[in-house]
Amino acid sequence: MFEIFASLGEALALIGGADPALAGIVVLSLELSLAAAVAGAAIGLPLGALIAVGRFPGRRTLIVTLNALLGLPSVVVGLVVYLLLSRAGPLGSLGILFTPAAIVVAQTLLVAPIVAALARQVAEDAWREYEEQLTSLGVSRLRAVPTILWDARFSLLTVVLAGFGRAASEVGAVMIVGGNIDGVTRVMTTAIALETSKGDLPLALALGAILILVVLAVNAGVFAIREWSARRHG
């Protein structure tokens, strides 16, 4: 028990001293997770809305596939991305394995299905409300997709946030495709795993505390935006 408190004290000292190595890891983590959340949203939001609003062959298959992807073990995603990006793989010529770019690719693959599935739910609710009115105005289903995405923008912010959280908390896939190289691809989660296994609990704890703080701060920000928008836009 005492050990935890001692580690906690050292962890606070690390955070308070703004340790440069620590700061580098934190910044890299945030950058990569943000990039993955943006890329995942760029794929997932239109896809989710299209599935909600559209009537096309293969729609059901797409829904089932998407739901299956939700439960995909992240190490498997890591493995597949590893195989694709490895020197002998089809995308090996890109030479991005063990770089931050590879991490973003793996995280995006994990984020996109989550965003798509949640966005579909939001878009379906909106479409139920809007369908008759939009159809009456002469809006096609395809044209309705951007309309719905824009109108549900504040709810969808929460969806993208869930994607960001998924990316920021990912360990397995990031470890496999990034390699946890110090100063290059070491992010908060892989650093925590490494430092814990090495027994450096203060550093692991400091990173864990920052990870939680960051997630809390982002959530609070999104919550504030939603409150404000609800008051302003109804």
Binding site: E132, Q133, L137, D151, R232, G234
Partner: protein, 238 residues
């Protein structure tokens, strides 16, 4: 040369089955350019379904809905719903959106949107988010949005159902002025005073069937069907 259709829209023996009930039962109605039509009938008679079917939102289970042509194209139409849905943007942008979707480019789009708002007296609220407007303001905005599309036929489903007397009078004034400019009005209401004020002719519906179509001044004195006279006496016709 093909004969020019003399009607704007026509339902021929239209039946609509919804959730196991026959909401419309072989309804026929031909709407020529001209008079203001008010559709009357008890709750659940099929008024809303008739309007939605004519407007093209519901596909008939049997029968046909045909749109006559004006200058070689189907008549333009718009509909105002009892509870209009507004998009999460300003009042002005809601009209701009409808115009954009219908291929109206700038600078006409902004000009027409502003003119439509002015038409219903909402210019002062142009920048206000549409969904926080009051019920009456939203109803007028819906009228402006529909009018901006320059419809030849305008369907209105209980356009004043939840409005106070002042807002109701305002909406009636706007509808009457649209009609005076040549827009074909087809509306429903449960406000018989409103029907008297706005209707040139009454279409009466009972249990999904069009039981009569009578000039308004005749209808209120001497309706042509038993169901309608019971309805006017405030009795429930079943």
């Amino acid at each position: 040369m093909a004969e020019r259709a003399s009607f704007l829209v026509e339902a021929r023996g239209v039946s609509v089955a919804l959730g196991g009930t026959l909401a419309l039962d072989r309804a026929s109605l031909r709407l020529e350019p001209g008079p203001r039509t008010v559709v009357l009938g008890a709750n659940g008679a099929g008024k809303s379904v008739l309007l939605r079917t004519l407007h093209g939102l519901i596909a008939p289970t049997a029968g046909v809905v045909a749109w006559g042509d004006v200058d070689g194209r189907p008549a333009r139409q718009a509909m105002v719903f009892q509870r209009p849905v507004m998009l999460r943007r300003s009042a002005l942008a809601n009209i701009g959106y409808a115009l954009a979707v219908n291929g109206v480019a700038e600078p006409q789009r902004s000009r027409r949107a502003a003119a439509a708002l002015a038409r219903v007296g909402l210019t002062a609220l142009a920048g206000r988010p549409a969904r926080v407007l009051s019920g009456g303001e939203q109803q007028r905005l819906a009228l402006a949005r529909a009018w901006s599309l320059e419809p030849e036929v305008l369907f209105l489903d209980e356009p004043t159902a939840s409005l106070d007397p002042g807002a109701t009078a305002e909406v009636e004034r706007v509808i009457a002025s649209f009609a005076a400019e040549g827009t074909r009005i087809v509306m429903t209401t449960h406000n018989l005073g409103q029907a008297r004020r706005l209707a040139d002719e009454i279409v009466f519906i009972h249990a999904g069937r069009v039981t009569e179509r009578t000039a308004a001044d005749r209808f209120f004195v001497q309706p042509g069907s038993t169901e309608a006279s019971l309805f006017l006496q405030g009795e429930i016709p079943w």
